[in-house]
């Protein structure tokens, strides 16, 4: 990808992140269920999450040590496909929620081949 485009995308992403809504999910609460289409992205700021589900490409009932900044629900959102697993807060999790409405303008500037950015 062209460096200028990449820089523009990164700026957009940072703007989205700043405009996102901080949320707290308590231990045991579900961010999204297997088979669901996400209504936005949850960018993890603090805490750990579990992924579970029959078709999960990760191990079943696997506890994932999620690095801060990872966007939960990213692949289903960009692929417009249902989530392959259920994502649950393993402890209290601080996230930034970036809604579908906020993401639509961003998607329009991402070239098709680079949705996995």
């Amino acid at each position: 990808m062209d460096e200028n485009i990449l820089a523009a995308l990164m700026n957009q992403w940072e703007a989205l992140f700043r405009a996102g809504q901080p949320l707290l999910f308590r231990k045991g609460q579900v961010f999204f269920y297997q088979g669901h289409h996400p209504c936005g992205l949850f960018v993890l700021r603090e805490g750990r999450v579990d992924f579970s589900g029959d078709n999960c490409h990760r191990e079943k009932e696997h506890q994932w040590d999620s690095p801060n900044g990872v966007a939960l629900g990213l692949n289903p959102f960009f692929d417009d496909s249902p989530s392959c697993c259920t994502c649950t807060a393993n402890e209290n999790c601080q996230v930034i929620f970036i809604s579908k409405t906020q993401l639509i303008p961003f998607l329009s500037i991402v070239p098709d081949d680079d949705h996995a950015l």
Partner: protein
């Protein structure tokens, strides 16, 4: 799953019934539709509100949790009902947890989309105000009932409400087409599961209701009205 708001029959039952075409297009663009299985949670009490939900099919219970962990069901929602909008208006956390009582297809619109759509469609705002007024009235009635009525009167009132909302006329009487556990029925009127079972047995003994395989049929609505001290 894609559902078109234009052809959605459930939309006609709720506050979006007279939404203009441009509003419907806005909703279609921004919403996400998902199927929730029984027991799955749509949103949690105390979490900051980030979306509102419109039920296409199925039923959802909304409950608050007490300090002792006991639940109080505040509302059962069905097709056409909106969930979570009060919290969005008030910019407060969700005041209750929403959980699917049965398989439910639900559309979600995020807070940003709702904030954009509402000012452009005053007819939607008016309908929501009407809905809020009705819910306030229902909440006042419930508070009054819990404060001043006996458990037997409250149970009679609950059965009448279930009859009016979910009743299907049959040969014997009016069958309540909603599968609630005895615990959930108790949670709707602030009584224990044991008291719920006892009261239903009493009503059954008095031939006011019939219970078959946990399904309740109202046989004598007049007796329920009298028990609930409701004047027609």
């Amino acid at each position: 799953m894609k559902l078109d708001c234009q052809s959605c029959k459930s939309r006609l039952l709720g506050v979006m019934c007279n939404l203009e075409d441009s509003g419907i297009q806005d909703c279609n663009l921004h919403k996400t539709t998902n199927v929730y299985h029984k027991g799955q949670v749509i949103f949690y009490e105390g979490n900051q509100a980030y979306g509102l939900y419109c039920i296409f099919s199925g039923k959802v219970k909304l409950y608050k949790s007490g300090v002792d962990g006991k639940h109080q069901i505040i509302r059962i929602a069905g097709p056409g009902d909106l969930l979570g909008y009060r919290s969005l208006f008030a910019e407060e956390p969700y005041s209750a947890t929403a959980e699917a009582l049965e398989e439910a297809t639900i559309c979600c619109m995020d807070k940003n989309a709702f904030s954009q759509i509402l000012p452009r469609h005053p007819e939607l705002a008016v309908n929501i105000i009407k809905k809020l007024a009705k819910e306030l009235r229902a909440a006042e009635d419930l508070a009054m009932s819990i404060a001043h009525k006996s458990v037997r009167e409250r149970m009679a009132e609950l059965l009448l409400m279930l009859k009016d909302t979910y009743g299907i006329a049959g040969k014997k009487g009016i069958r309540i087409d909603l599968h609630l556990t005895r615990e959930e029925m108790g949670e709707m009127i602030g009584i224990t599961q044991e008291t719920t079972i006892r009261l239903l047995s009493e009503f059954k003994h008095d031939k006011i209701i019939a219970v078959e395989e946990r399904e309740i049929t109202i046989l004598d609505p007049k007796a329920l009205l009298k028990t609930a001290r409701i004047e027609v």
